[in-house]
C-alpha cells in the first residue's frame, strides 16, 4: 500500500511528467504537418509489419514459397508479366529467379528492419543511461575512466567492427539478435555522453541536494531524482538514433553479414537485386523506396519529437540562417 503511495508521489522539484506537459508536447507535435505525415507513414508500416502473417494468410502467399511457373527460365528467371510480374495474386510482383511473392517478403523484411532497429536502440539507450549515470555519480576516477572509454567507443568505426564481429560468432546464433547486440553495444557512446552532461547539470540543483541530505543513496538518487528529469532528453536521443539503427541493419545485411536467407530483409534484397536491375527494375526500386521512406519518416519524426520536447531549439533539419547562434 505504502509502495503505491510512494510511486505516485512526484519527485520533488523534477519537471512533473503529468498530463499537462504531455498534452503540451502532443499539441506541439500535431502542429507540424510533416511530423503527422511521418508518424502516419511509420504507423502504417509498423501495422503492416505486425500483421505480416495475417496479410500473408489473407493473400494466400508465403514469403518463402518458390513459384517456378511465374519466372521465365529461358530468360534467366525474369518474372513473367509487367513490372516484376504484378498480378491479382502477387500485388507487387515476384522475386526474379525464385518467383517468391515480393509483397509478403517486403512485409517480413519490415519486421526484421524495425525489430532490429528498435531492439538496438533499446540496448543503446539502456547501456548509455547506465554508463552516463555511473559517470556522474561514481566519483572523479570513475568519471575519467568512463569518459575515455566513451571517447573510444565514439571514435571507433562501428560498421567495420560490426562486420568483423559477425565473422567470429557461431553460425547458429540467431542473426536478428546478433544484429541487435552489435548495433546496440557498439553505438551507445553518444547517449552516454549526453546523459552524463545532462545529469551533471541536474546534480547541482537543489532537489538533488535535498534528497541527498534526506539520506538517499546514490542508486536512489539516480532512480528517483535524476531519471525522471532525464526522460525527455533520453527519449529524444533514442528517437534520433532509430534511423541510424535502421541504416546500420540494412548496411550489414546488404554486405551479406546480416540476417541469413531465407529470412528476408530490405538490405539483403537490395544486395541480391544488384544483378537484376536491367531485367527487373521493380526488384531494386521497391525495397530501396521502402528503406528510403522509412529512414526519412523516422528522421523527420525524431526531429519533430526533439523540437516538441525542447521548443527553445529550432529544427536541425531546416537550414539555419546562421543568426540564431550569433543573436
Amino acid at each position: 500500500m505504502s509502495l503505491t503511495l510512494e510511486r505516485s508521489a512526484p519527485a520533488p522539484g523534477a519537471v512533473p511528467p503529468g498530463a499537462g506537459a504531455g498534452r503540451q508536447v502532443w499539441r506541439r507535435l500535431r502542429r507540424r504537418p510533416s511530423a503527422a505525415v511521418a508518424a502516419a507513414v511509420l504507423a502504417l508500416l509498423v501495422l503492416l509489419a505486425l500483421a505480416a502473417p495475417l496479410v500473408a494468410h489473407l493473400t494466400g502467399q508465403d514469403p518463402n514459397t518458390y513459384h517456378d511457373d511465374l519466372v521465365d527460365s529461358a530468360r534467366g528467371g525474369v518474372p513473367i508479366g509487367s513490372f516484376g510480374g504484378i498480378s491479382a495474386d502477387h500485388w507487387l510482383g515476384v522475386e526474379p529467379g525464385t518467383g517468391r511473392d515480393l509483397f509478403t517478403r517486403l512485409l517480413y523484411g519490415a519486421r526484421v528492419s524495425l525489430l532490429v532497429a528498435l531492439g538496438a536502440v533499446a540496448v543503446q539507450t539502456a547501456v548509455g543511461v547506465a554508463v552516463g549515470l555511473a559517470a556522474t555519480l561514481g566519483g572523479r576516477t570513475a568519471d575519467q575512466v568512463i569518459g575515455r572509454t566513451t571517447d573510444v567507443m565514439i571514435a571507433l568505426p562501428m560498421l567495420v567492427i560490426g562486420i568483423a564481429l559477425t565473422a567470429v560468432v557461431p553460425p547458429d546464433f540467431p542473426r536478428p539478435l546478433l544484429l541487435v547486440l552489435i548495433i546496440g553495444l557498439l553505438d551507445w557512446g553518444g547517449t552516454a555522453r549526453m546523459v552524463r552532461a545532462q545529469a551533471l547539470a541536474l546534480r547541482g540543483l537543489d532537489f538533488v541536494d535535498a534528497a541527498r541530505l534526506a539520506g538517499s543513496g546514490k542508486l536512489r538518487i539516480a532512480r528517483r531524482e535524476l531519471l525522471p528529469s532525464l526522460a525527455a532528453p533520453v527519449i529524444t536521443y533514442a528517437a534520433i538514433k532509430v534511423p541510424t539503427a535502421i541504416v546500420a541493419e540494412a548496411s550489414l545485411s546488404f554486405l551479406g553479414v546480416g540476417v541469413k536467407p531465407p529470412t528476408p530483409s530490405w538490405g539483403q534484397m537490395l544486395s541480391s537485386a544488384q544483378t537484376w536491375f536491367r531485367a527487373d527494375p521493380a526488384y531494386v526500386l521497391l525495397p530501396a523506396g521502402l528503406l528510403f521512406t522509412t529512414v526519412l519518416a523516422s528522421t523527420v519524426l525524431g526531429d519533430a519529437v526533439r523540437t516538441a520536447l525542447d521548443p527553445r531549439e529550432g529544427s536541425r533539419l531546416r537550414v539555419g540562417t546562421g543568426k540564431e547562434r550569433t543573436g
Binding site: 571507433l156 568483423a164 553460425p171 541504416v247 554486405l255 553479414v257 546562421g322
Partner: protein
C-alpha cells in the same frame, strides 16, 4: 600549442592500443579453434595440433597478445611445418590463413584502390558541397535554400548504397553512358582508372556534399553577422565580395577539420561503396575475409582502418587548432 599537440597525440596512441586489445580479443571470441580454421577443412587432429604449436596458440592469451605487439614492432617468424620458416616483416600483422600472404603486404596492395576512391570523393564534396554552400549563402531565402533543405533531409541517414544502386541503374543500365565499372589501377591506364571510378566518386562525393553545403552555409552566415563584416559593409564593400572574400573564411576551419575526419573514415567506411562497385580496396578485403573467417586478415584490416580513423581524428583536431587559434588556447 605544443602541449595541445602532445596531449592529442598521446590520446590517439591510447585509443589505438585499446583498439588493438579489442580487435585482438576477436581471436578468442572465435567459435571452435583458430588452429582448425588455419589448417583448413581436411586436417587430421595431429596436423591441427601441429598448427596450434606453430601459431603459438598453446601460450597464454596475454603472452600471445604480447607476441602480436612484438611482431608489429620487430617482425616475427612463423614456422610453416616441415622445417619451413615464413618470415613476417615488421610491422607484422600475421599471415593469411587462406594464402599464407603477409597481411601487411595484402593491405598495402589494396590501399591504392581505397585511396583512389577517397581522393576523388574528397574532390567532389569540396567542389560541389562547398560550392553549393557559398552559393546559397549569397542567395538567402531563395530556391537554393529550399533545395538545400530537401537535399540535406534526403541525405540525412539514407544509406549510401541506395544512391549508388540508383546511379548504376540509371547511368549504366538505362542511359548506357558508361559501362558497368571495373577497377583499373592508376598505374595501368590513368584514363580508364578515372572513367571506371567516376560513378563511385559521384556516389560517395554527392552523398557527403549535402553535409558540407550545410556547414559552409551556416559558418559563412555566422561570420557575416560579425562586427568586422559590419565595418566592411559600412565602408561600402559589396555584398558579393563580403560573402566570397571575407565571410567564407569562417567556413575554412570547420570544412578542413570535417574533411580530415571524413577522409579517414572513408578509408574504412567506404566498405559499402567498394562492395557495391567491386573496388578491391580495404573494405572489400574485410568483407571477403569475413566470409571465409580468415581471422589474421580481419584483425589486420580492422586495425589498419581503425588507425586511419584515429589518426584522421587527431589530424582534424590539429588542423582545426591551426586554422582557429582560439581552440588550442581553450
Amino acid at each position: 600549442m605544443t602541449r595541445f599537440v602532445l596531449k592529442r597525440t598521446g590520446g590517439a596512441l591510447l585509443v589505438l592500443l585499446a583498439l588493438s586489445v579489442i580487435v585482438y580479443s576477436l581471436f578468442y571470441l572465435a567459435p571452435g579453434d583458430p588452429a582448425r580454421l588455419a589448417c583448413g577443412e581436411r586436417c587430421n587432429p595431429q596436423q591441427i595440433a601441429q598448427v596450434r604449436e606453430q601459431l603459438g596458440l598453446n601460450e597464454s592469451t596475454v603472452a600471445q597478445y604480447l607476441h602480436f605487439l612484438q611482431g608489429l614492432v620487430a617482425g616475427r617468424d612463423h614456422s610453416a611445418g616441415a622445417g619451413l620458416v615464413l618470415h613476417c616483416d615488421a610491422p607484422c600483422l600475421g599471415l593469411s590463413y587462406q594464402t599464407d600472404q603477409q597481411v601487411t603486404d595484402l593491405i598495402l596492395t589494396r590501399l591504392p584502390a581505397t585511396l583512389s576512391l577517397a581522393l576523388g570523393a574528397l574532390a567532389i564534396w569540396l567542389l560541389v558541397g562547398v560550392g553549393t554552400g557559398v552559393l546559397s549563402a549569397l542567395r538567402r531565402g531563395g530556391i537554393t535554400e529550399r533545395l538545400l533543405t530537401v537535399l540535406t533531409l534526403a541525405g540525412t541517414g539514407t544509406p549510401v548504397f541506395i544512391l549508388g544502386l540508383l546511379l548504376l541503374m540509371a547511368v549504366c543500365a538505362y542511359l548506357q553512358w558508361l559501362p558497368f565499372p571495373t577497377y583499373v589501377p592508376l598505374t595501368e591506364d590513368p584514363e580508364q582508372w578515372a572513367w571506371n571510378l567516376l560513378l563511385p566518386w559521384l556516389t560517395l562525393g554527392l552523398f557527403e556534399s549535402a553535409k558540407y553545403a550545410r556547414i559552409t552555409r551556416s559558418s559563412t552566415l555566422e561570420t557575416l553577422a560579425e562586427d568586422h563584416i559590419r565595418t566592411f559593409r559600412a565602408y561600402g564593400v559589396g555584398e558579393r565580395a563580403l560573402v566570397t572574400r571575407h565571410a567564407v573564411r569562417g567556413a575554412v576551419a570547420p570544412v578542413i577539420a570535417l574533411s580530415a575526419v571524413d577522409f579517414g573514415t572513408m578509408i574504412g567506411g567506404a566498405v559499402l561503396t567498394e562492395s557495391l562497385f567491386g573496388i578491391p580496396g580495404l573494405g572489400k578485403t574485410l568483407i571477403d575475409a569475413v566470409r571465409v573467417v580468415d581471422l589474421p586478415v580481419v584483425v589486420g584490416v580492422v586495425l589498419a582502418i581503425g588507425t586511419a580513423v584515429v589518426v584522421a581524428g587527431a589530424v582534424a583536431d590539429l588542423l582545426y587548432a591551426a586554422a582557429d587559434r582560439r581552440v588550442a588556447l581553450a
